[in-house]
Symmetry: C2
Subunit: 117 residues, 2 copies
DNA sequence: GCTCCAGATCGACCGTCATCTATATACAAG
DNA sequence: CTTGTATATAGATGACGGTCGATCTGGAGC
């Protein structure tokens, strides 16, 4: 014999009824997401955004002794921010005698920009 | 009478000798830098990057109950990440009965993408 | 050798963040 | 009104990040 039961929401859910269409599983992009997030984290400070901005605008390498006085920060702090950008692959550096020069590395920011589009 | 003095590096510096060309002062972009950094900070977590990715790929609103099981995280944690994205203006939300739907807001990511180019 | 200078690193302080459990809110259904 | 369900909020905790002063490194010049 058959029984006409009202299904509970839980049962409905188990039976396949959903509140919206199923979604693409994002696991394929997990590695890419980690990369994007690490680049974004390197840009998650106004000082570092301005550093990148100055370096890009200058279209060449810039000496640290030029960068430090642009901010109301100690020299070690600016050096720390440059290190964060370097470790994220956003900028590169080279020493020449006493001075150190920084420049934007092509590509890393482009990947983030491409994903954002 | 004139004296032929060897100038110290300090004196040279004071006399205008520099290690590189002077740099554009970045103060004009400070406000923009704060905005860019705040958007970047909202994207500085792989979970939030994947959330944005799913929402963008879906090209429409997505229910929270679809988003939570995509991650190996508790429901409050996913809700927290969605709140961070919403407060950054990256996504919007609307409630409908018991369910809440999230969707990408146009424009905010575009501004960051434009600056990166 | 010694001294000076530019820059990097260290160690400490303190605020922010990601995560959890527990609880609250708000709606739906009986 | 009571129960269940979906989401949000609160509070706690451990990890991370920005900043500084102090110190280290290594090249330049005496």
């Amino acid at each position: 014999m058959t029984v006409d039961l009202e299904l509970s929401p839980k049962t409905k859910r188990a039976a396949g009824e959903r509140c919206c269409e199923p979604v693409v599983y994002p696991d394929v992009q997990r590695e890419q997401a980690v990369r994007m997030a690490s680049v974004a984290r390197a840009l998650a400070d106004p000082v570092r955004v301005q550093l990148v901005d100055v370096l890009r605008r200058h279209a060449g390498r810039v000496c640290v002794c030029e960068l430090v006085p642009l901010f109301d920060l100690s020299q070690p702090t600016v050096s720390h921010h440059l290190k964060v950008l370097r470790e994220a692959g956003i900028v590169g550096s080279e020493r020449q005698g006493l001075w150190a020069y920084y420049f934007v590395m092509p590509g890393v920011l482009g990947e983030l920009a491409a994903w954002l589009r």
